[in-house]
């Protein structure tokens, strides 16, 4: 029963992190290349555009949900399971989500990279 709680916690962390990352990535693509916007319209335009973007706001909210789910999950399960499992599953989830929602070309090169990084993070954080 305890492991069910722990894995539900991990699932919530992964979902919230993936949603957050995708929304933040989409928000920044809408803002446009920060260097170009800065050069054309100045620093404060970059800040105003970013903070005024609804996706940015939702993305930060999702990241906050992920952070607090992590805190709660850590009180149910071991750090050595929760932290690496959540971090490495987030990498895999992000590769899927980036392909589906952000239309990134996740080719074989990037799939292999996502798998390698996920495995490496699981080993390092464990």
């Amino acid at each position: 029963m305890k492991s069910l709680y722990t894995w539900s916690g991990i699932l919530v962390i992964v979902l919230a992190s993936v949603v957050g990352d995708v929304l933040l990535a989409r928000a920044m693509k809408q803002v446009g290349d920060v260097h170009d916007v800065w050069r054309r319209s100045g620093f404060w335009t970059v800040i105003a555009r970013t903070l005024g973007n609804p996706n940015f706001f939702l993305g930060v909210t999702a990241m906050a949900v992920a952070f607090f789910s992590l805190l709660f999950s850590l009180s149910w399960g071991d750090v050595s399971l929760v932290a690496p499992a959540a971090a490495s599953l987030t990498f895999i989830g992000n590769a899927f989500a980036a392909k589906i929602f952000l239309h990134e070309k996740v080719d074989r090169r990037r799939w292999i990279a996502a798998m390698l990084v996920a495995a490496g993070v699981a080993l390092l954080a464990g």
């Binding site: 933040l24 446009g32 260097h35 970013t50 990037r110 390698l116 993070v121 390092l124």
Partner: protein, 145 residues
């Protein structure tokens, strides 16, 4: 990819690793915080290590957002994982801690993954509809002139 973009990615890696380790060092000094004693958070923030850690994580967030404005999510994410490698190397060569063979394997896997992605293009996603419209407006005004 310009030097400035590589510096932004380096910032993503270094700020995340440095911020996390300072937070963790500071939180070990302040002790654990429970849900029933949330005021402990305020004392934690007053700890200089925690405060500097938070500033560094804000810098990480700024660099991360900057990178996402010109590169794919699947391009930037492996860079964030390089922070783990950096922390393990600091643990081994600066703090003289033991790093287990399993962790060296983890370092090798992450580095390999980053190498795979870095060899490809940074941006593959289609431009957002709003940006396409903006470009067309620019093109249109050029024709008018």
């Amino acid at each position: 990819m310009t030097l400035r973009k590589y510096l932004v990615l380096a910032g993503v890696t270094v700020f995340a690793a440095a911020g996390d380790s300072m937070l963790s060092h500071g939180m070990k000094q302040t002790g654990s915080i429970s849900l029933h004693h949330l005021q402990g958070v305020i004392f934690a923030v007053l700890n200089p290590w925690v405060a500097v850690g938070i500033v560094l994580l804000l810098a990480f967030f700024a660099a991360y957002m900057n990178a996402l404005s010109w590169a794919d999510l699947t391009y930037v994410l492996p860079a964030t994982s390089l922070g783990y490698v950096l922390l393990a190397l600091v643990a081994r060569f600066v703090l003289q801690e033991q790093v287990s063979p399993l962790r060296w394997l983890g370092i090798a896997l992450i580095s390999g993954g980053v190498g795979f992605v870095a060899g490809g293009p940074a941006l593959t996603s289609h431009p957002h509809p709003e940006n396409v419209e903006a470009n067309e407006v620019v093109v249109g005004s050029g024709v008018d002139r």
